[in-house]
């Protein structure tokens, strides 16, 4: 790997937040923030979907499982959805996801849903910076690392007992 990149990696820990933005409102707001040269934390990595209604809960869990420290979902305000009510569907899933991740031991602040319209570039900046700050304060989630530790623990048990203890939980989401 290039030395400059190595230097980047040696910098103090910075969170990585995976963002799912809808094409019509929040992704356009991100474009607007860019055109307006607003400055926000580089921790957010945006994935564009047509509608927040396309966000499968599995996407969110997968992002955490693959090493995201936070997940941000952005959609249109209620009543503004380009597809009439996809954002309502997302809102319902968000309530479910919120309960799920807390049960899994993930801090609720790591998942956030925001309605950001195409004209709200400044809100996008505010939300990203605020979330970045909160996740930075929480520290790394590092689920992939935890999975490895658990694998080792399980391996140890198998080595000692010659068999798997019953009812091992499935850790790959």
């Amino acid at each position: 790997m290039n030395t400059e990149i190595n230097k980047t990696l040696q910098q103090p820990w910075k969170p990585r937040i995976v963002a799912f933005f809808c094409n019509w409102c929040t992704y356009t707001a991100a474009d607007l923030a860019g055109v307006s040269r607003l400055k926000y934390a580089p921790s957010v990595l945006i994935i564009r979907l047509m509608c927040s209604g396309r966000v499968d809960p599995q996407f969110v869990l997968d992002a955490f499982a693959k090493g995201a420290d936070g997940v941000l979902i952005g959609g249109c305000h209620f009543g503004d959805c380009h597809y009439i009510e996809g954002n309502h569907k997302m809102f319902r899933r968000y309530q479910m996801l919120k309960r799920m991740i807390v049960n899994m031991g993930i801090e609720p602040e790591r998942l956030r849903l925001e309605w950001i319209s195409a004209s709200e570039g400044d809100k996008l900046k505010r939300v990203i910076n605020d979330m970045n700050e909160k996740v930075q304060a929480l520290g790394p989630l590092n689920l992939p690392g935890k999975f490895q530790e658990w694998d080792l623990e399980i391996q140890d048990m198998i080595d000692q007992n010659g068999d798997m203890p019953a009812a091992k939980e499935e850790h790959h989401v």
Binding site: M1, V18, W24, G34, I47, R54, H82, I84, E120
Partner: protein, 667 residues
């Protein structure tokens, strides 16, 4: 899922754009290219100054041929800007256009981050995700929908009139819907137009009659769009016709019924003269109203309200045009495109009580003064105040409800010019001393600065400063009985008190109060203020985010008559372009059902807002009608069996993006 190329393997070309300095200044593109080159499947990486330019696109096309590439990733600006450009480049290079993935490293990276190293790292992360994703892209066919050639124009002001006439003259069928009893809009209320001072009615009314008489235009006044659905090429609109209690086809506009009305004197607020005069319960908004049909005001007509009137109006009508049994009627039409020209409202100066509007009789809005100076207006063109006096000194206060943190922040663009016009007209009519109180004079436009110069030479006074208040509290003898304008003259550097007889408030332009309802009805977006948002502020000024829906005039933002006409012409030509092509190419981002995986649980059926999903009883499977699917993907995310997929946004494609973003651990 990945489709194989001629030699069976994925061969990716990666192109990173400098965008002049826009990207290169904040992202080390050379490092990005070097990092991406290491990824599996990447055959070539290149950096170039302007990828969107012809040589940039040719670079891709040559590489496709010479290096046998079958996937392309372009890291440049937002896909909303140039995705189509690069898709076309792929097509010209002989590749399916959907084997492209764009990485937004301008709007999402270089423009919003300051730390070059972190920005470079982010560009690499995003690019890695795109490379992973593109490897499993599928070849897709563009969908085509046919375009119904009929057009709906909503709003009959000058913008709507011009758009409708342009389309109708090109041989297209137009429905023009106006909610007031007449077309003409605000322009019909104006006296003269700047900077040429030609009379507004003289240039507008011939166009209004053209609309009425045009064989290709169906004019529906006193009507509103109440329901709207469908998609580009085949929209459905439901129009409500409000009862006028007059059969429009029979009335010839002789106005005998108005004279015959049991109310001998006009009693009710005349909306056209902004309340400066009265009208009867049966009235015609103004003499040149189009259509030339009277209208009965249901709130005040005794027959409509109580059914117990002598109906002297009916007796004099030899055309038998009255019908007091009329009800609201509804009509459904089908159109292929829509032009929204719903206009504006003027700022209500009661929100700035310090200017005394509503408190002092002789404080007027500019729109009221337009009517006062008009020869067909309530005073017959004589500038008389509410007390019947001719003013000797007049103060015109600029920027009321404009450029003000307390009210509206935006510049309304027309007030400086119309204030100059009113100053000139008032001076011409009365010989009064006229004072203009301005913050900045904004007179850009052909002949506008010259007009300002002309008014300056007419010895109109100009005082630079925002007016603090209008009061009748006299500090000196000569101020008694006058309205005193208190202002800081910023050129002199002193607070001044200017006593005048009449105050004109140059009120700004605001979105209509129901702009948000209209926006929701047509599924377009608007700015925080309520002006409708164009697709691109420079490159797509009349298009909206919704295909086939165009905007023009003041509903998009404050503008004057020449600009409204130019913009409505542009909107009409965009609609014409759509109609003449006959078909519209649609993103192939529809959802489809994998039948073998579908359990027939019906969860998806109720989720679809377009009723595109049906349940096939014989097979006990869900089925998606591709023509109705708009590609939101809500059903895809909700299917408990993962049996629904979405083209362009396949589950696997999203997962590979997530994996790509996070594949290098950051600890």
């Amino acid at each position: 899922m990945s489709s194989t190329s001629k030699n069976g393997s994925v061969r990716i070309g990666y192109y990173v754009c400098h965008c002049g300095h826009n990207i290169a200044a904040n992202v080390d593109v050379a490092i990005v290219a070097k990092e991406i080159e290491k990824l599996p499947g990447v055959v070539i990486t290149r950096e170039y100054k302007y990828m969107c330019s012809d040589p940039g696109q040719e670079l891709i096309q040559e590489d496709i041929k010479e290096l046998n590439l079958n996937r392309i990733v372009v890291a440049s600006c937002s896909p909303l800007l140039h995705e189509q450009t690069f898709r076309n480049a792929l097509t010209h290079g002989g590749l399916n256009p959907y084997f492209l993935q764009m990485v937004n490293i301008r709007e999402n990276v270089s423009w919003v981050h300051t730390d070059r190293e972190l920005a470079t790292q982010k560009a690499i992360d995003l690019s890695r995700a795109a490379v992973r994703r593109v490897a499993i892209h599928k070849a897709l066919e563009t969908r085509q929908v046919s375009i119904n050639p009929d057009v709906l124009v909503v709003g009959g002001g000058i913008s709507g009139i011009n758009a409708a006439l342009t389309l109708a003259n090109a041989g297209k069928k137009v429905y023009l819907v106006e909610r007031d009893p007449t077309i003409g809009g605000h322009m019909a209320q104006f006296d003269k137009t700047f900077p040429t001072l030609d009379c507004a009615a003289c240039i507008l009314t011939p166009k209004m009659s053209d609309v009425k008489n045009h064989p290709n235009i169906t004019l529906w006044t006193y009507s509103e769009v109440v329901e709207f659905s469908g998609f580009v090429g085949s929209f459905k609109a439901k129009i409500k016709h409000k009862p006028r209690y007059i059969i429009e086809d029979l009335c010839v506009g002789c106005l005998d019924c108005i004279d015959a009305c049991v109310y001998k004197n006009p009693k009710y607020r005349d909306e056209f003269n902004v309340g400066l005069s009265k009208r009867k319960p049966i009235y015609i908004p103004f003499p040149q109203a189009t259509p030339q049909v009277v209208v009965v005001d249901p709130e005040n007509c005794i027959q409509v309200k109580r059914g117990k009137c002598k109906m002297t109006c009916v007796d004099v009508c030899d055309r038998n045009a009255f019908d007091f049994t009329q009800q609201e009627t509804f009509e459904e039409i089908q159109v292929g495109s829509v032009i929204l020209t719903t206009g504006f409202q003027t700022f209500n100066p009661e929100k700035t009580p310090y200017y005394g509007y509503g408190k002092y009789d002789n404080v007027y809005t500019s729109l009221e003064v337009e009517r006062i100076v008009n020869s067909a207006g309530p005073t017959g063109g004589e500038v008389l105040m509410r007390d019947g006096q001719k003013p000797k000194k007049v103060g015109i206060v600029h920027c009321v409800g404009s450029r003000d943190d307390r009210t509206n922040k935006w510049c309304s663009r027309v007030c400086c010019m119309y204030s100059l016009k009113l100053a000139s007209l008032i001076k011409e009519h009365t010989g009064a001393e006229v004072y203009n109180f301005y913050i900045d004079m904004r007179t850009p436009g052909k002949g506008y600065e010259e007009f300002y110069d002309k008014v300056l030479k007419e010895k109109v006074h100009f005082i630079r400063g925002r007016v603090a208040e209008v009061t009748d509290w006299a500090a000196e003898k000569e101020e008694e009985g006058k309205l005193i304008i208190r202002v800081e003259d910023t050129l002199v550097g002193a607070v001044r008190r200017i006593p005048v007889d009449m105050v004109v408030l140059s009120v700004g332009i605001e979105p209509q109060t129901d702009a948000h309802d209209v926006r929701r009805l047509f599924n377009i977006s608007c700015s925080t203020e309520g002006f409708f948002t164009e697709r691109h502020p420079k490159l797509a000024p009349v298009e909206t985010a919704a295909e086939g829906i165009f905007i023009a005039g003041c509903c998009q933002g404050p503008k004057d008559i020449p600009d409204s006409v130019a913009q409505s012409g542009a909107a009409a030509s965009q609609a014409l372009a759509l109609i003449d092509k006959g078909v519209m190419e649609m993103e192939p981002n529809t959802a489809y059902v994998l039948e073998e995986a579908c359990s027939g649980c019906k969860s998806c059926i109720s989720l679809c807002p377009y009723t595109a999903i049906t349940f096939v009883e014989e097979r006990k499977k869900a089925e998606i009608n591709e023509a109705l699917c708009k590609g939101c993907g809500t059903c895809v995310a909700a299917c408990p069996s993962s049996a629904i997929m979405q083209n362009l946004f396949e589950d696997d494609e999203i997962y590979s993006e997530i994996e790509g973003l996070l594949s290098i651990p950051q600890l």
